[in-house]
Symmetry: C2
Subunit: 159 residues, 2 copies
């Protein structure tokens, strides 16, 4: 009960951001955040729950939802919604876009050109834009290779 974890970058950042909003540092929040940082494949809340349970078997789904919300609130994680499925969570806060593969459903981060700023969009008068997001769709390298390499498998195995 006394092993002091080294205050690494994760803790520091988390602590800092939580403090800003008057929220507490808890082991659950820390753990959920570490799960998101460990594998940045935009997991859904349920996937986070499953991964979190590996090292923290008693954590509850409600807590995962709470922690994710907290992390989003304090600006360490962002929520991404794509298609009809569950909301997904992304711990990459650098400016980037999201690419979704139509074939395998995978999500990929596409770095934004630093300083590329916002695309040239002519906003009608009166609108105040705070945020923009570019979502790309198509085929990821793996799926693209399959489609062109092997002849177009029109009657591929049922999904």
């Amino acid at each position: 009960m006394s092993k002091k974890l080294p205050i690494d970058f994760l803790d520091e950042r988390l602590n800092q951001q939580l403090a800003k909003t008057g929220l507490r540092f808890t082991v659950q929040r820390r753990h959920v955040y570490s799960v998101l940082l460990a594998k940045r494949d935009h997991p859904s809340a349920e996937e986070v729950f499953i991964r979190a349970k590996e090292k923290m078997p008693d954590i509850s789904m409600a807590t995962v939802y709470n922690c994710l919300d907290t992390l989003v609130q304090c600006g360490l994680v962002r929520q991404v919604n794509h298609e009809r499925g569950a909301t997904r969570y992304c711990s990459n806060m650098a400016e980037h876009h999201h690419f979704y593969c139509d074939e395998c459903g995978g999500a990929f981060d596409i770095d934004a050109e630093p300083g590329s700023g916002q695309p040239e969009i002519h906003m009608p008068p009166g609108f105040v834009m705070n945020h923009f997001e570019i979502t790309l769709r198509g085929l990821c390298p793996e799926c693209a290779a399959k489609q062109t390499g092997v002849r177009r498998s029109v009657s591929s195995s049922a999904p």
Copy 2:
């Protein structure tokens, strides 16, 4: 059965697109499509259902979902997902972006500059991009006016 409706643009387009995919023209599909064209405010499935019931009281929720799926399938309507809420449907197939008001939740179409093409994004090798979408967030004219204390002056037409 008896009264032949004039084949207007709606019917023509719908028929054409349905035929392409081997789907049938039905009164429910026509009606759901007309609801989407009548008010282009990106209604959710449930809102479509409510509006559709006005003139077709017997239509069911299941049919609305089916029809919406069909319309999306045959390229007359697109699905837009924003935040956690319900999926919304948009009948504007011209190239445009979506603006969501953080305050009132309203959705607005922002026309893309014709020929502006896609934003300059450096895709990592191997990715095949088929589609991109820009989502904007901020304040709509009405909510922006309220926030700055400016009375409802410039912004006029409500959605």
